[in-house]
Amino acid sequence: MKLSPKTATLLVLVLLIALSPLLFPSGYYYRVGALIFVNAIAVTGIVILTGYAGQISLGHAGFAGIGAYACALAPVHLGLHPGLAMVLGAVISGLMAFLVGRPILRLKGYYLGVATLGFGILISMVLNNERQLTGGPDGMEVPDLGLRGLLKDAGLDLTNGQFWYWFCGIAVIIGAWLALNLFNSPSGRALRALHGSEVAARTVGVDVTRLKLQAFVISAVYASVSGSLLALQNKFITPDVAGFMHSIEMVTMAVLGGVGSVLGAIFGAAVLTLLPQVLTVFAEYEQMVLGLVMMLVMIFLPQGLLPSILRRFRRGDE
């Protein structure tokens, strides 16, 4: 029996997430895994926006910021449960993406890049400057999600690292499932069509403005959820989550791993989250080595790590 690409991708993801802990030498690796998953969720959103629809955003960390600070602020000021605060953050991010996306998605290529960059910087500035509300650059505390306690009462005692590993791991699988559903759906086809040829997509009836906006909103919700999960597991958040570097990281992870494929992009997130940890042996040259690796990948494997590797395997088969 031949598996569909969707089933195969999900199966690989589930197995990797479920079996990796067997190889963890210490509890610390649960924490690293959970960080990979947080990035993987944001990057899956980038796959929808950039890989499917061909639109670039250099400001998606802004939405991660909204998601993160929703979890910090809403429980304190609105008395909302942190879990519901995450939902609220996603709704606000989606609305924000809708309002911001309407005018700026008319722009193409690097004009769109610069406009989204502006949006990200704006959010980051607000978080830095509204000290009374956000604590400014010092950051602020985030209340506990409370789910781990509930699980413990139910007889499932997990360490903090284990809990976030499994919680974020499940979120990654759900996120990937949604993105893979979209890929082969009528909407996904229209997105990929406008990526391939905007003029042809319009002439077959695709309302390009509307479709781009949908992709932008969906990817913003992914980024927002990613930011919320980061805030909730760290129980502390600083404006860096909305910073320019974080936006660049998301795009880099997606492009490095292969922006056209969900699995590739998640692989990219894993590589770029792990690499700095591995590269600490290079001490102060860490950033240089990281930059060099990225340049070499883009020069020699322009489609991204995973698609290039898979292609090489397939060629071996023939």
């Binding site: 759906s185 009528p186 909407s187 996904g188 069509a193 990526h195 319009r202 077959v204």
Partner: protein, 259 residues
């Protein structure tokens, strides 16, 4: 029968140059109208204005009694206007089947949430588009290539793929921009038959084509452009005798063909 598409006094200028000026004609259902003219005569520009890709500077386009001048392409598509492109506009990294399925967009589209959650309604819409697309691929002889990435197809096959995608809209009027360009004699004849068959089913066809034999064979009506202006129009027999046309276009072309 009354006209499906009427073009009146249509014109556009690019930096002071009148690329198309005061062009008018009409196309009735089931009729094949060809637009011919030397390179740079403004044929593709005219197509781009009719199909909403360019905003016309002057004039009026009426589709089925409705003024659609400057209307966006996706709205024209919903009103039954479909087109192909001279310089191919294929969705390169999608499969051949997916390219044609994209042509079913107006029939298969639905709420994006249904698509995200892979609801039965979404699957049903996609399945209908897929079966329709397979039928169309068989019609243009590409059914065996359905699973291949479109970018890997030969030029002639891509031309037919574009026609299949345009037909997926079930158009009332089909604009074909040089459908036989770069195709060999056999392929040209196949496209020729396909166009005639589509026209017989009641679809109006507006054709830009350089292959004069094909134009003269299948057209009901021919419009001749030169330097953006209409210099003649009429049935193929009349056009091939028109002195202005021979001077502007057929003169050199016919001499080349016979020499």
């Amino acid at each position: 029968m009354s006209a499906l598409l009427t073009v009146e006094g249509l014109g556009i200028s690019f930096g002071g140059l009148k690329a198309v000026d005061e062009v008018g004609f009409a196309v009735r259902p089931g009729e094949i109208v060809s637009i011919i003219g030397p390179n740079g005569a403004g044929k593709t520009t005219l197509f781009n204005m009719i199909s909403g890709v360019y905003l016309p500077g002057r004039g009026r386009v009426t589709l089925n009694g409705e003024d659609v001048t400057g209307m966006e392409p996706h709205l024209l598509a919903a009103r039954g206007l479909s087109r192909t492109f001279q310089n191919l506009q294929i969705f390169q990294s999608m499969t051949v089947l997916e390219n044609v399925m994209a042509g079913f967009h107006l029939k298969e589209r639905g709420p994006v949430l249904a698509d995200l959650f892979n609801l039965p309604s979404s699957r049903r819409r996609a399945a209908e588009a897929a079966s329709g697309a397979i039928e169309l691929l068989a019609r243009v002889g590409l059914d065996k290539a359905a699973g291949r990435e479109a970018g890997n197809l030969s030029y002639g096959a891509l031309k037919r793929l574009e026609i299949a995608r345009a037909l997926a809209l079930s158009p009332r009027i089909l604009l074909l921009d040089e459908p036989a360009a770069g195709c060999n004699a056999v392929e040209t004849e196949e496209i020729d038959h396909l166009i005639a068959e589509v026209a017989r089913s009641g679809v109006a066809i507006l054709l830009v084509e350089h292959d004069m034999k094909m134009v003269m064979r299948i057209s009901n009506h021919v419009v001749v452009l030169d330097h953006g202006q209409k210099i003649a129009e009429g049935d193929p027999a009349k056009i091939s005798r028109d002195p202005a046309v021979i001077a502007a276009y057929l003169g050199t072309e016919a001499a080349d063909a016979e020499g």
